[in-house]
Symmetry: C2
Subunit: 343 residues, 2 copies
DNA sequence: TTGTATGCGTTATCAA
DNA sequence: TTGATAACGCATACAA
């Protein structure tokens, strides 16, 4: 013990612990403690100090699929980048959990989510988190934050991208160019991320209809995987009906956008010459290079960081703040005025 | 406490702790303890565990730059994939220590490394490791494994890719095609990864020279960042001297390969028609699609997994095994016989 | 087969 | 300004 070296004992904690309480210390004492510590190579045991502090400075990160899947494009990497940085800034370390691993022994078992309790609080990623277990965690007052909007279980804190506002902005960009009839291609599921985009889409079109007195031009198409119904013929039919712009939502595979892109090209059409295309999100890497679509970028790193801040605030007993993070509008090369002129 | 739920208390440790000592336990008791634990969502505190037993089934990962940097190409992500999977298989949870992350509160502090002691052992990644702190950890007998060959501090265990063998194999592929004069373009630094590649390169060429009695055709060029000296004129000059093949080492930015690629194209030359090109590693994503180069792939996930196995073996007091992991030769489209025919 | 007592290294509360 | 002393939550030797 450094106690032997110096002449003190509890004092070591104080000087080496940073003296949070602001207790007065003799400068000599400090110096002696430091000297002795260096001499013996003494290092405060993090386990002991975390035990005594009743807080281990660990934040959990739980993703129901592997945190590091082989296919990078499905990964949570962009979120983790923000999580890591913000956790570092807040002085927390990260414990990585996955639905498939969780300590090896009890994979997939009913209590698998309980493992996260070894951390002070936990972040959850992904749609497929078991609701019942999460509910219990939340009910027990365990600090938890979900990345992505989530209505269930009640009381679960979350941070999410403001898809409503971002989608509305994209649509307003189109209506501002003169488009009056726009079609949204979305996935056939009811995830909040899809629903929010549709809300923003409809809201922005309704605004325009109100102003100009036109009838409601909103049209929404739900497509499957793969998006087999988005064909050149389908595109032509929509154009014939007066549609001048198409909007696709971003999905994890980019399927909707890819299908739209392909169908338009196959129909011998060109954006923005013959019609306008926009993407409610970011394009898959291989299509990004071809022609950057008009749309918005999801601030994934920002979301990760915001989630950490929210979780830390929860740990400190503070109430939650604004959970929505704004997306950045991206002006691309795929939109322009409708062919026949505005209106 | 789970103690309240059941009727025991120390027993909880035994049954939940895996009962290392092989003490006899009533099946009813075990069942009751498990039931109570599940009921309360009880999880043993890792800090307390580590304090009392000096182990808590936590493995640390410490990288000397952010583990999830904004620039994806510099990331340790591929290693992490293997680390995560193997750690799960071995029954360990992963702690990502954020001590050195950019923006981290204790980024450059002298004690930044000490927090890893919370975990039973720790993996280290990256070239820019604080040697002094690592040395202390190792000297204290703390289980540590470095991913990537490393000579310093002495006694630090590591796993690495067998760059020597892999590079030699690539060169033999070239000499087998008939190339006799080959130039290596490498970074101007002395990282083991670069040095090993050069060794393999030289060894394979020397073999060939020995067999055929030719003079030593090895030529090594060190280039900076950016690799400004790799110009079309430079390529032409080497060809004029009789060089028929060029080999570049993989770097984190892919700079050397990119420079070579660009210079050859700008010189109006084509591989494998006019000359052969090979890459000691994998190409950056954007160049991979263009034309897959002959070379080898670093088994990053395998390395991560091997590191975990080595660390776990160290925890069990076993001695270290073979630290080298073989790279996979990749036949690409950039090599062929020399233009003038073999020899 | 299970309960009791003790210690792991710190921090926090009080007393000196 | 500093030194005792009691937790912190768990594991282990030992007694029951």
């Amino acid at each position: 013990m450094a106690r032997l070296a110096g002449v003190s004992q509890t004092t070591v904690s104080l000087v080496l612990g940073g003296n949070k309480q602001g207790i007065a210390l003799h400068e000599d004492t400090r110096a002696r403690v430091f000297a002795a510590a260096r001499e013996l190579g003494y290092v405060p045991d993090p386990a002991a100090r975390r035990l005594a502090a009743a807080r281990n400075n660990l934040l959990g990160v739980f993703s129901f699929t592997a945190t590091f899947p082989t296919a990078v494009e499905h990964s949570y990497y962009p979120f983790l980048a923000g999580v890591e940085q913000e956790a570092a800034a807040q002085g927390y370390d990260l414990v990585l959990f996955t639905g498939s691993s969780s300590g090896g022994a009890q994979a997939g078992e009913p209590g698998a989510l309980d493992r996260v309790r070894l951390a002070d609080g936990c972040l959850f990623l992904g749609r497929h988190v078991r609701g019942d277990q999460l509910r219990r965690l939340v009910a027990d007052g365990y600090p938890a934050v979900h990345i992505g909007r989530r209505d269930e279980p009640a009381g679960l804190a979350w941070v999410g991208a403001d898809y409503v506002a971002a989608s509305a902005e994209v649509v307003r960009h189109l209506t501002g160019l003169g488009h009056r009839r726009v079609v949204l291609v979305r996935e056939d599921d009811d995830a909040p991320a899809s629903t929010d985009r549709e809300h923003g889409f409809r809201a922005a079109l309704a605004e325009c209809a109100g102003r100009r007195g036109a009838d409601d031009p909103a049209a929404v198409v739900r497509t499957g995987r793969p998006a087999a119904d988005i064909t050149p013929a389908w595109v032509r039919a929509r154009l014939a009906e007066g549609t001048t712009a198409f909007v696709a939502e971003e999905t994890d595979t980019g399927g909707a956008w890819r299908a739209l892109h392909t169908a338009v090209a196959a129909a011998g059409l060109d954006a923005p010459r013959d019609l306008s295309l926009a993407l409610l999100g970011s394009p898959p890497a291989d299509l990004a290079a071809v022609r950057p679509p008009t749309g918005f970028d999801i601030p994934r790193a920002e979301l990760g960081a915001a989630a950490v801040r929210l979780l830390v605030a929860q740990l400190a007993g503070q109430e939650r703040a604004e959970p929505l993070v704004a997306c950045a509008f991206r002006a691309g090369d795929t939109t322009g005025p409708p062919p026949g002129g505005p209106g």
